[in-house]
Subunit: 415 residues, 2 copies
């Protein structure tokens, strides 16, 4: 019965592209319109048809991790692109839509992130061996979306451009105080201090990140200018000229959006400017992939712009600009995945095969979500006052030597 | 009793700035912290204290229109800036907050805009004598926010920059088809046709606007390229490479947001790009000024970004960019008001004194709403596909002669 239901499900789903599925009994079935390239999948476990029908999101990822499902040429991206583009085109079918809606009702429960649980959620991911992150991130350990001004940009260049673009939006001047909420391994804080002469407090909930960030500040001679603390964002006190938060809002959870922006409002000086950079969705609010929250980001939630803005409006912050990065994270993840594959032997020396397959599935699924499932990155520039940021966005893009833009541009600190 | 309540209301409200109020019995009272300049108001009608306490929004505007309330040096802007900045600072008091909340509950009723009522609402405002609009708009009759790249820009230059900025966001190529929803007197449609070589269909519900737009297309020799129709936006058929809608969404009303974006989605070609330019609020969804909907824009509603985006998400459109213009409309309205005052004798020859006072109150109240009450302008760039617009916003701001930006820039049609 489950094989028949899976067959019906796939027949309905795969209307564009080609999929061949070899069932546990050895029979092969073909789906789609025959367009190349064909993605081939082999199911090795008789339990899979039932699991895939009842909970495809979790079952597919788990089966791949366990090698109970294998993909021709190990082309995870091809399989996920095929599935996501057909779902996005509305071919999921009534049954899957109903299942997704039911799960959506329960999503609030998994996003309840008081300080203690936030700490455990963070440890789950960011306290993994630092050596793992060296296998796929750039040298500065920028673990968020890079900014590709040209498709030829290297990952290193694109990450430097991301930091410069965010710094431009913060309109920094030497001597300003900056709060970095979710500072990671310190790359953003150290760059802002070094290149713009500001004083930074970076907070993280990861012991591993904290230790490395402090170490880097010391060896860069920036420990007088940058302070890192193990601290929940809700526990920070004082006022800051600027607040920056990159790739942290994804971990906040919808029930805490108001508290997040209240903190931001309270920490931001009256003339202050803040920049919140987060993964988002262009689709309506709804469940985040349960495989992703189970294995990769517990407590995580990908917000829609309408949800973020409802909280921003209620907290009385002025949105000065909202930038939407649509394909930059797909490119970033493509680079990360390629580096991880290039270093797969080192990864296998650190973790077992199942972990490595899980990590590859995470990187591939994320990449394809940005290409085919409405995921994107939002940058919200926020303030208390309507005149806190320049009236046009020319200062973010203009050549500083051109007339007009100079006066509006933040001066870069003399190094 | 009402005089005592008004006194209490004003004592609570005016905490910053200075206000002097002369009551109908000749007594003068002073409010605020004494900061210059003092705004002076004289109440000439014994009914005013009651009306101002029960419904300040409507009563103040009506009293000014009737000259039952006069302002020293006729400084409407000064009075409204004082009131709005204190309200924004949270000094309105519990009673006024309660009244506002009650009115807010009823707001859906006044935004029910089926095609027939939309037509009447539009006629109320836009079928006013064309001569009136010549007294305060620029020569192209741009009746929406201008774009001041420099504070020294003239209104004419800033309006031209607005059109160029929107055209850049549309990534036009010669021969493309463009739908202009709410085309006004045709300035945008004619500019796009002339400067970018596109084919435009402009729709309006105003007979006056239609007649003038057609006349202008003919005399510019663009009537082969631009077609204007008297048509509700929901009645348009066919697919267009681009959709543009400037200053029309304010008239849609929240109950019709889904229908608006559904129309936009259905009219937009698969690779299409759309640009919706609308007045917005940075405050949470709530009532639009009732004086404004009673006298100036019946059926109008100023949306919050969260409301707009909720509809955009549900209709499955991809937000490519959201620009927030914070002070451009205040500058635009300052220019319009000054031009209107400069032409006040001609205005009085067209309409009576009460109309002229109403119009000045409308322009002044709007200007101060952008400075002190969280009003702003949103530009939503929307598409079906994530790659419909360039991946960075450099093409909107870069010098086209610089490397890198050239390939992304829309080619300007050879004229």
């Amino acid at each position: 019965m489950w094989t028949r239901l899976l067959d019906r499900f796939l027949r309905r789903l795969v209307q564009h592209g080609s999929l061949s599925v070899t069932l546990p009994d050895g029979e092969t079935r073909r789906y789609g319109d025959g367009a190349a390239p064909e993605v081939t999948v082999v199911l090795h476990d008789p339990a899979l048809p039932r699991q895939l029908v009842l909970d495809p999101d979790v079952a597919l990822g788990e089966a791949y991790m366990d090698a109970r499902l294998t993909i021709g040429r190990d082309d995870i991206n091809g399989l996920l692109a095929l599935a996501m583009s057909n779902i996005q085109a509305g071919h999921a079918g009534a049954w899957q839509t109903l299942l997704a809606a039911l799960r959506d009702r329960l999503r609030i429960l998994v996003q309840f992130n008081p300080a203690g649980r936030s700490q455990r959620n963070v440890a789950h991911h960011y306290d993994l061996s630092g050596a793992l992150y060296d296998l796929f991130l750039d040298a500065d350990r920028q673990y968020s979306c890079a900014y590709f001004r040209s498709p030829e940009d290297t990952l290193e260049k694109a990450q430097a451009q991301k930091k410069a673009h965010i710094a431009a939006k913060l309109c920094l001047r030497p001597g300003m105080t900056v709060l970095d909420i979710g500072c990671g391994w310190g790359g953003m804080a150290l760059t802002l201090a070094r290149d713009y002469g500001v004083q930074v407090l970076g907070v993280t909930l990861s012991h591993e990140q904290l230790a490395m960030a402090r170490e880097r500040a010391k060896s860069a001679g920036l420990d007088g200018q940058v302070r890192f603390e193990l601290m929940d964002y809700r526990a920070v006190t004082g006022a800051f000229d600027r607040v920056v938060s990159v790739g942290m809002f994804e971990h906040v959870g919808a029930p805490h959006f108001r508290a997040y922006f209240r903190t931001l409002r309270e920490r931001l000086a009256p003339d202050g400017l803040a920049l919140v950079h987060t993964i988002g969705r262009s689709t309506p609010p709804g469940a985040t992939s349960r495989w992703m929250t189970k294995y990769v980001f517990p407590g995580g939630y990908i917000p829609a712009m309408s949800e973020v803005m409802a909280a921003v409006e209620k907290e009385g912050l002025v949105p000065c600009d909202v930038e939407v990065w649509r394909l930059h994270y797909a490119e970033t993840l493509r680079h990360w995945h390629q580096r991880f594959i290039d270093n797969i032997d080192k990864a296998r020396a650190l973790y077992d095969d199942r972990f490595c397959r899980m990590w590859r599935f995470y990187l591939a699924a994320s990449e394809e979500s940005f290409r085919h499932a409405g995921q994107c990155v939002f940058q919200f520039q926020l303030a208390h006052k309507v005149d806190a940021a320049p009236v046009t966005r020319d200062y973010l893009h203009a050549d500083p030597m051109q007339t007009g833009a100079v006066a509006q541009l933040p001066r870069k600190a003399a190094e």
